[in-house]
Each structure stands twice: as C-alpha cells, then as structure tokens.
Subunit: 466 residues, 3 copies
C-alpha cells in the first residue's frame, strides 16, 4: 500500500513541514503543458483494450528495462516493421512484466506503476509472478466500466490543461472535434516543426509536401517555407496552442543570410545536403522560431542533447521511440549566445530550455536563466524526471536562478494513466525540497507556502500563458 | 529573525555537533584573502550614501536577478555609458528591490541580505513591499552615525586581513595611504595582470602604456614587458601583497620560445593579433607568472572558465561586471599539465585553482591537488559560493584531495557589507559538513574540532602566507 | 574504536533499517572479481616484512597524499630507477605516516586504515605521532605469527573468489602452482591485453616478442597477432579466468578493415606510428575483444578516461602507478555506439563499463545500460570508490539503469589487507542507500532485503559467471 509519507525525508520534522506544504497543493488541478498523449484518445473515448496495452506497449520506460535484461521486443508485443512474429497474447506479456517488476525497484516507473495500480484501480497488492493473473483480470474488468473511459479519467484526474505535441502539418482534427464537442476537457496542441526542419532525414521531402498541402502555400524555396511555417503557427494558435516544442541535437544558434538559407534549402530539395548543412539549417531555424515567437507570442521550448535511435537494429526493425535515445553532453553558453543576444532581452518573449545534461544546470543554465529576461528553465526532463533527478535539479539551479525563473513541472508522457502519478510525485519532491529549506532556515514557512503553489500551478500558468 | 540553527542539518544530533564546532570558530577573525572591495572606501572613510547604494547598485547578484524578471538596469539605477535616463530616486529603486525580494528565496543573496539587515542594522522584519519604507529610513538614519563608517564596520566585523584585487599598473595609492595612516586595518593588494595580458582587448595598448609609466620601463618588446611585470610584482610585494590573481577563459598552459612570444607581442603592438595569438599568449603568461611566483614567492591564483560579457547589449550600454558573465565547461588535466610538470613539484610554489565547472571537482581538480605539492583547491567560487555549492565542493573534493589540500573560504565580494554574512554562512556549512562526518563516524570529534579551525583560519593563513 | 553504526545515516530510523539489512550480508563471502593483488603472495605464503611494506609502499593512495603535502617519494621508501638515495629505515617512514595520518581525515584511506588496524591487528588506538612506535611494534610482532600469513588472512577474510589482473603473455605460474597445491583459495587471472595493444608505447615490440613466445605463434602481421591473443585468452580460460580487463584513454570503438589494421600493425613493427594510429588501433581492438568475448565467453571489462603518468618527473624517476594518473572527461554515447550496435544486443555477451567521469553516470551510462542487454555498469571506481562516490553512483544510476544492470562491488586494490575494509564499507554504503529508499517508501523492506544480497553477492556472481 502507498504510504502517505512517501518520497518525503524520513526526518520527522522535515516530513511534517513537507506534508503541511503538500496539503496546500494536493488538490490543485493538473496543468500539463508539455506531453505526448494522443488527442484521439479523448475524441473517440473508447475503453482501453487491456492492461498490457495500457501499461506496457506505449511505455518505452517499461519495455527498455525488460529489453536490457534480455527480453526481446517481439516477446513484449512491440510491433515490428518486418514480418517478425510478435507476441499477441496480452496476458503472456503481462506475466513477463509481473515476473520482472522487481527490476523497476528504485526507478520512477516502479513508483508510478504502483501509484496507478492503487489510486486508479484500487489494487494494493504488489505486482509479482503470483499476483499477475488476479491483477490482470481485475484491471481488465474495470476497463470495461464507463468510469474508466478516457474522458472520465481525465476529469477524475483533475486535469485542468493538457497540451499535446503535433507536427507542423498536422490537421489537428481531434483537437478540433474535441473543441466542438460538448465535452469541456481543455486539450490544446503544441507546434513541433522537427520533421520539416531536419533536412537530412529520409522523409524530409514528403514532410515538405505535407506542409505545402496543409498550409496551402506552394513551398518552392526558403521564403515560401518560412511563410508556410508562419501560416501553420497561426493555425495552431487558432486551435488553442500556446507553445512550440523543438528537439535538436545541439542548441547551436546562428542566423544565416537569406541567400545562405535558401541555398541550403534548395540543395535539400535536390537531396544533396551534408551534416554541416543540417546543423547550420537547424541553428538558423532556432533563430527563426525565436523571431516568430516574438511576433506571434507562442512560448518557445527547446530540448537538445539526445542522440536518437542509437541502436540501429532496433530502429530498423521497430522504428522511433523504442527506448534507444541516449543523451549526449550539451553546451549552452556559447550555443545559445546569438539567440539570447538577439531576443533574450525581450521580456515578452519566453524561451524554455530543457536539458538531459545535468552538468549544465549550475554551470550554464541557471546563470543564463538568472540573467536573461526571456529565458526560463524547464523542469528535470525525461530520464531525470525522477525523485533524485528532481532533487538535483532544485539543488543545482535554485541558488543562481531562483525558483521564479523555473516553470513548474510537466509530465512529458505518452502514458496517459501515469499523469497523476507523475504530478503527485513532483509535488511531493518539491514540497520536500521546500521543507528541507524551511527546516534549515533558508526560507521561512510563509514563503514556502507561496512557493508550493507557485511550483505546482503558478509558475507553469505564467510561463505558458495559460 | 535569524535562527541560531540556520543552515545546519535538521537532524538534532547532527545539528548539536555542528553548533558545538561552530562555537569554536564563530569569533575567529575574518581572513579575506581574495575580494574586490575598493580600498578607497577605507581611506576616505565616508558614510555610505543610502541603502540603495549599499545593497543594490554595487551588487550584480542583486540586479541580475531583478533584470531576469524584467526590470531594466536603468530602472535599478545602474549607470549607462550612453545618455539613457537612469533612475535617480534611490527610494524608488529600493521599493522595486523590496517588492521583489521574494525572488531571492533560496538564493545566497536572500540569506546574506537578511543576515546583513539583522546583524548590522538590527532589522528583524522581513523586507517586503510594506516594510520597504520603514527599513529604508531606518538604515538611512543609521548610516549617518559614526558607528557605520567603513573603518568602524571593518573593526566591528572583526576582519583580520583583507586583500583587494588591483591592476598591474595601479598606483595602490589608497593602500599606501591606509598603511601610512594611524589606522591598523590590514588591507593589502593582489596583483592582477589580466588587462596587460589580454592582447586582443580593445584597450590593451593603452594598458601597456600605463604599465610602462607605472614601472618606469619603456615597453618596446616582450622582454621589457616581462621586466615591467616583474617590477610591478615587486612593488605589490612592498605594499603587502601575498598573492596574484588571474582570470582566464581556459587554463591552457604552454611556454612559448622567447622568439615566438616576442613575435606575438610585436604584432599586438601593431594591433594585428588573432584569437589564436591571444590563447597562445595567455597560456604562455600563465607559465611566466608561475615562474615569477617561484622566484618572488607570491601565491598564484587562477580562476578560469567564465565567458565574460555574454550579453552584448548590456555590455555595450553598461560595461563590465553587470551580471552577464556565464561559465563554460573547463578542462584542467591536460591544460595544466605543462605548468604542473615544470613547477608543480616545487612545494614552495603555491598555485590555487578555482573553478566554475563542478564536474572538474572530483574528476580533475581533487586528483591533481591530491598529488602535486604546489597545487591547492580554491573554495566553491562565485555562483557556487552558496549553501548547496559548498556542500557539493566538500562532498566531491574531500575524499581525494583531503581537507588539507584546500585553502579555507574567501568571499570574493564587491559588497563590503556582505563579508561577515558570507563568512558566517561558510563557517556554518563547513561545520555542518564536519558534523555529518562525525555523526556517520567518518572522522572523530577531536579531528573535527581541529578541522573547524583549519577550514576557518588555519589553512587560509598557510596557503596565502598570512 | 570503530563504531557499529559507521557510514550509516545518523537519522535513527534510517540507521536501524540499514543495520538490519547489513546483518543479512555482513557474513557473506567476499567476491573480488577485479583487483591487482599479486598471486605470488599466496603461492609463497611468507610473512609480510613490516608495517611500512604492508601499508605504505604498495599503496599509491597513501603516498600520493603525503607527496601532495611535500614529502618526497624517496623519503617514503619508494624505489627510484636512478641512483637516488631512498629511505631504508622502515620505522622512519612509518613515523612520517603516523605524524601525518590526520591528512587522511575524511578520505577512504583514512577509514580503511583504521578498519585494518582494528579488525586485523586489534589496535583501537588512533595512529598519531605518539602512538606510532607502539603500533609499529605491535603490528611487526603479529606479522611474525602464522595467523598473519597471506593464506590464513585470505581465509580469515572469508574471500570466496579473488581475480587478479595479468598481462597477455604472463605465464600465470603462481596461479598454476596455487591451483595444483592442496590449498583451496580460489584465485583466478584476468586477461589484460593493454601492453600488446598500445602500439605507441616504448616497450611494445618487446611485448609482442613475449606474446609470440608465450603463445607459440610467430607474430608477423595483424592476423597472427589476433591469433596469438585468441590463443592466450584460451590459456587464461583454462587457468580459471572469467573476464578480461582493458584500460583505454578513450572508449572510442571502430572496426578497421583487415587491410587497415594490418597496415598500422606493420608500421608499428617498424616503429613508425602516430597517435592517430594508436587511437585507431585501440578502437579496433575493443571491437576485436568484444567479438572474441562473444565467441569464448569471457566477460569484457573496460575502464577508460585516465591520463596515465601525468607527472613526467615522477614517471621518469619512479615509473608507473605512483599516484600520478589523472582522470579526464570521457564520452560514451558516441564512442561505444559501433561496439554496442554490433554486439550489444547479444545478451550472452557481457560488457562491464567503468568510469572516472561521474557526469556520464546519469547522462550516458545509465541510459545505455538501461537499454542494451549486453552492457552493465561497473561500480564507482578508483577515486570514486569512497563513501560519497558510491552514494553518487547509486543516486545517479539507479533511476534509469535500475539496480539489476549493475554488477556489485569490486575493490580493485593492490593492498591485500584493505580488501575486507573496502568490501565492508561498500556493504554499509549500499545498505544505507537501500535503507533511505525504504524509509522514503521508494522500495519496500522485502525488496530491500533481496537487494542487499544482490548488491553484495548475487549480481557480481551473475555478471562475472562465478
């Protein structure tokens, strides 16, 4: 059973303050400004198929750990692109998960799943080889009840705002249908241009064709490309978007002359571009996206520093997002300089920067965010979205950036059911951090109360214009 | 009101030991071997003008945070080089500071300022929008009393030694006047050659002219340049200096042949130097400074790894030291090798190395300082001069370098009033670290008592030959 | 006197759980799969000469600290290659150590030595200038007793498995003699090919001659070189080896064509190779070693990122392993990619990776080990084999890699007597980490009990096929 005290310091005086602060925020709505849940889920509002499709198949945190211990992705039901035989017996897959759930000891997935089982399904028994069948059956049964439909859960989870991530050419049809429906759930898109910006990717030209078609602008050169992007941003804004989201290998920023940019763009259309071209083009597009944000008001998010699809065999067979993205060292001070010099002094512009490289927290990101009005720090991200990861984030950023140059928590998840678990964990860890500061007389209890609200709802609403 | 227990672990048994150790050192004199207070302050010994000129204008920690939240430097009274209108109403500026003092929650500035208000001015009320006026008036009034003159505060603060930082061509007139006066405050200069070493800087040639004139040596080539520096070091030694101080982008060290060095120097006199020349010349000058230290006994300090004036707009309008210096990653193992190979085995030579890149603590700096007799570790520096920053410093350096290859604390401040606050905080954090080690039976209480003295006064006096 | 509570959190509730977990594992045999003890010690089974030769001469952790504080290596009895006069009075050296034992406050050496003095020799008095003579005499006397012979200590220490590290051409005669003896101590070799792989080293050609002679294969080109290595691995397997061990400057991996490899090899035989050749050749040999491990089943260990012999003066005068090896920043994500793409999906292959660069724990190593079936994380290594170092290792790796992608502890020591001290410390620190997780309700007590066994014996036996 979940302890009320979980994730709080075991020193009773700290825990007491922490729980008091947590009381302030436990019932606040969930604001989720950055994530990857599929909006279709809420438009269709169909029952989830079974526990395996809920907990395992969509969650690369889960299957990457099982893979690391020798279970093939096929045996875990992950669809292959080739004609490999993939396990179709959902229960068999669930049994592997249950047999090996001890592997998640001490990981965020371990505590999120326990939270979900208990708070969503009322299961307080531990997931083991023995309990696997009973738990599977119990969840399966509940999933058929109207109480477990996506929209009902959305409301039960007290989600006040949910942003998805959507390609530049996405029709946003599900967002539109939801908006037009009588359902009041607030689900908005975020503009992610990666696919039309990565000129080296195999499918780039087809992405450009989609962008032409979506924008109604015939993209024949750099100028029309930029116009099409501006056009789509406008559409996203009409559909409720407040932010963009961009994943880049490096946060290098440098503006090209229009002639240079056009020359690379034209070469890309002919399919003859180099890695240098790609880097230069992406660096230039970060400048363009910042300029557009200054003009149209969308909050700009960047998360650099992950080498995607590190494992060729898995990528070729199973595609993207299969747990094979591995972080690399990332430099911000020099790379962001041109962008920050040009747009960073504009306090109407907001640039939220994430990292996977914790060495940049105290050394680069906190000093930058503690100076430039436009720049804010995104929370501990991805692998660092964890108890220790969040502690390190606060310990290494607060003293230089303060709390007020950060932007609250976001769950960044594809796994809808894990949203409350993730936010609850973040609230606990933040309240615990504040409690430690109070008990060491670094801040007083009055400020800690205010901050517990700010870290939960205040700062995120301000940062994302919600 | 300040708690007696502040910054100590909230576990009562640890706190008890920590307070016991702190009792040993609370009344020891402040030894400040590295800082940026203006000696003129103590020669003139005039009253401080008002709270704003005391707390805000000289402290880039303060105004960078306000700037990051959208307040212009003009509105904070920072003088611009152009004809921008700058706020002249000191009280208006103070009100902004008070309105936004909550931004400093969890930052060193937050706790330093609270310490200063209470211990220097007897103010126990929190600085808020409401209390701003009363606190401003109270401080303003006190500043007119003779008790608040710089020399009186210096004595009240129990400062036993204060080193300033001074350019190579500085006349040190204020140091001289203080020395000749009947006042006994010990204020000595430190030799900082940066301005005459940075051959790429716009004002380098005029700096060389000043150096010629200060040294009485006509600088026409590299040889005369080196002679002039040696001459000035001698003058600084006569004026009481025990150390040099050098800020460099990279700690790269490599000795040039005299022909190479002279060739770069000559090109610099003609104004035709490249960044490569600059790097080579600085790397060579670190070798020269080490050689000179072996000869004349000045302790050598280097603090690399900060990209100065990151924000062009602020730099052009307001100049240096406006909170826009941002750290970069820094490599020590390879870069310091030539210097350490040539001079590092000499235990009479002392090289104190600072860093802003905490990743080098355990990986590079502690192993180097734990081997080379000449090398010592400077304390957690600048942005890391903070509660968490100091904890990380001890946690990451002690096990490999030991306590005895470190050199105590220094405040490195421009803000005179913050000196006691900073030293008090450092003493508390160090005593708390020792208390944790005692309570986990890593060291015994007897050693902890000795160490509390060493970390406060013993090691710094030994390291800086005081 | 050693406290029973040492290294456990001072919070009584955490400490209680920690001690309960420690009770599980305190009597488990020591499994030491990676170290540098000389097997000759156990074959000859002669008494240790005196305390100085036991504690100081073979331990670079000890004499590097004394050197850093100004004691020459000659004064510490370290043999020079030239005709320098080296202190021969063992007691004089011991007195220096005792006089300066306070330098080791807060270091692993400090706590290991205290542990050894008390648990091996029954000495509970602190080592100081005063107690030096008495302690020296007491140890000296005990060393003459049969209870303190190497084999007896091996048994008393409850060492269940001890792997040594041995060059590719080593005859393993002592391993053989031990195996053939009636003594049951399990001491096995590990295959370390560094000397025959580092084609740039001055003695490489003579190493190749030794390899020819040991393998009986006339090495005339790359092909015969590879055959000779395969041959020696087979011999090591026959002698009980379960693993290889390779130290490299960088973990760069890239397979050369046989023509390229042969061309470099031939140039090396002629003594004309560059640093680029060396890097390419080592990167290729990592690929070869991985291939061979897939074929012959030896576990592959790599530990990159140390710049050896940083101090030229010491290296020239005293040789290798004199405390002058300094870590450098190390990149894994890109460097290991080729190796992991080719062999990392093979769950029969095991690659154990160590690091000295803690920045890679959370950013690169845990994500890689949390995905690739073949890759496991070696424990906190060398300078990081310490209380804080191990804490950081668990804090930064567990959440992404889990506990089960790590491989337990290894002592990696040359100092035989320190083995129980090191394992005891590791068990305490790991049990304390688990206790913290239990008391914060991250894992439950049942899992913590299982994990305490896994971290001590379970995972190491599985990882090294013991």
């Amino acid at each position: 059973m979940l302890s009320e005290n979980r994730y709080f310091d075991s020193n009773p005086s700290v825990r007491k303050i922490g729980l008091e602060l947590y009381e302030n925020v436990v019932d606040l709505p969930i604001i989720s400004p950055h994530g990857h849940v599929d909006p279709k889920l809420f438009e269709e509002n169909k029952p989830f198929a079974n526990p395996t499709e809920l907990f395992i198949i969509p969650d690369h945190y889960v299957f990457r750990m099982l893979y690391s211990q020798g279970f093939s992705l096929e045996s875990l039901g992950i669809n292959a692109k080739d004609d490999s035989i993939v396990e179709e017996d959902s229960y068999k897959i669930w049994q592997i998960f249950a047999d090996n759930f001890y592997l998640f000891s001490g990981t965020p997935t371990g505590v999120w799943v326990s939270h979900e089982l208990e708070t969503v399904f009322g299961i307080t028994e531990k997931l083991t080889s023995k309990s696997a069948r009973e738990i599977y059956n119990l969840i399966s049964k509940k999933l058929q009840s109207p109480k477990f439909l996506p929209r009902t859960l959305f409301e039960q989870f007290n989600i006040g705002f949910l942003a998805t991530t959507d390609g530049a050419s996405d029709s946003l049809e599900y967002h539109k249908l939801i908006k037009e429906s009588d359902w009041n759930g607030r689900i908005v898109p975020s503009f992610r241009p990666d696919a039309v910006v990565n000129i080296l990717a195999a499918n780039w030209k087809s992405e450009i064709e989609k962008l032409s078609s979506a924008s109604g602008i015939d993209i024949i050169d750099y100028q029309t490309f930029i116009k099409a992007i501006e056009n789509r941003r406008q559409f996203f804004i009409e559909m409720g978007a407040t932010a963009t989201d961009q994943g880049v290998l490096s946060p290098y920023t440098h503006e090209l002359s229009e002639i240079e940019a056009n020359s690379i763009f034209k070469r890309a259309l002919f399919g003859i571009v180099t890695e240098e071209d790609q880097n230069a083009f992406v660096g230039n597009m970060l400048m363009e996206m910042a300029r557009m944000s200054c003009e149209d008001g969308l909050v700009m998010q960047i998360h650099p520093g992950v080498l995607r699809n590190h494992n060729d065999i898995i990528f070729k067979k199973f595609g993207l997002d299969k747990g094979c993205d591995i972080p690399i060292q990332t430099e911000y001070t020099k790379n962001l300089r041109e962008l920050l010099n040009k747009y960073g002094n504009n306090s109407n512009f907001k640039l939220i920067v994430f990292t996977h490289d914790e060495t940049s927290y105290a050394r680069e990101l906190a000093p930058l965010a503690g100076h430039y009005p436009a720049m804010k720090l995104g929370p501990a991200w991805w692998f660092n979205d964890s108890i220790q990861g969040m502690k390190r984030f606060r310990e290494m950023t607060t003293e230089t950036a303060g709390f007020y140059n950060t932007v609250g928590f976001n769950d960044e998840t594809r796994a809808f059911l894990s949203i409350p678990a993730r936010h609850d964990l973040a609230r606990r860890v933040d309240c615990n951090f504040l409690a430690l500061q109070v008990s060491e007389h670094i801040i007083d209890l009055e400020d800690a109360h205010k901050l517990s609200y700010e870290l939960t709802n205040g700062l995120v609403k301000k940062a994302y214009n919600i």
